[in-house]
């Protein structure tokens, strides 16, 4: 089914082909990596816990 005629012939707002990002669900699934990723990420963005900058 085509898009509405009102969309045709206009200048787009997405200026370039979009690159696929890594899939988040796969990235946070516990795997062989030594870090319990989900918990560690949560800690990294927790107020006053975070991580040292230097």
């Amino acid at each position: 089914m085509p898009v509405r005629p009102s969309r045709v012939g206009r200048v787009g707002v997405i200026r370039a082909p979009v690159a696929k990002t890594a899939v988040v669900a796969a990235a946070v699934t516990p795997g062989p990596a030594p870090i319990a990723k989900t918990a560690v990420v949560a800690a990294a963005v927790t107020p006053r816990v975070g991580r040292r900058r230097i």
Binding site: R7, G12, P34
Partner: protein
């Protein structure tokens, strides 16, 4: 759609959510969550398209209104501004795998609009913005862990 002053417009974002062939499981949960975001005034939905990409890479776009019974999305559909142009479709579909379906959602962050407007009135100008992917946070933490382990 109500006319929005440019000065009062919040940041506009988009996502392309892909559903690989055979992996979709639509229960209405997504529509309900989207509706909740709209009802709470957190976002305003500007545009929605559903894209399908055939095995040979041919892309087809479908308007939300052409999907039939919309349920929770009916009111949202009525307020769409149709920001996307036909030429945007191929750019957005470039990220899709052949044989998949994807929902494209464009929204205004209403929650950010008052702050952005105040920043402009204060003489500030946006010089950069972006999103930090969870993957980048994970990579940073892992690098930190590795450095601690090796004593680097």
């Amino acid at each position: 759609m109500t006319e929005v002053s440019l000065d009062e417009l919040g940041p506009v974002d988009y996502v392309v959510v892909e559903f690989p062939a055979g992996a979709s499981n639509f229960t209405g949960e997504m529509a309900a969550e989207l509706r909740a975001l709209v009802d709470s005034g957190t976002i305003r939905v500007i545009d929605v398209l559903v894209l399908t990409k055939d095995a040979d890479g041919t892309v087809e776009a479908t308007e939300l209104s052409d999907l039939g019974e919309l349920g929770e999305l009916q009111e949202i559909e009525a307020g769409l501004a149709e920001l996307l142009a036909a030429e945007d479709v191929d750019h957005l579909a470039a990220a899709m795998e052949p044989g998949s379906t994807a929902g494209v959602l464009i929204w205004e962050n209403l929650w950010a609009a008052p702050f952005a407007s105040a920043a402009r009135r204060s003489g500030g100008q946006l010089i950069a913005d972006g999103r930090i992917p969870i993957q980048a946070i994970i990579a940073s933490i892992q690098a930190d862990e590795a450095a601690t382990t090796t004593g680097a």
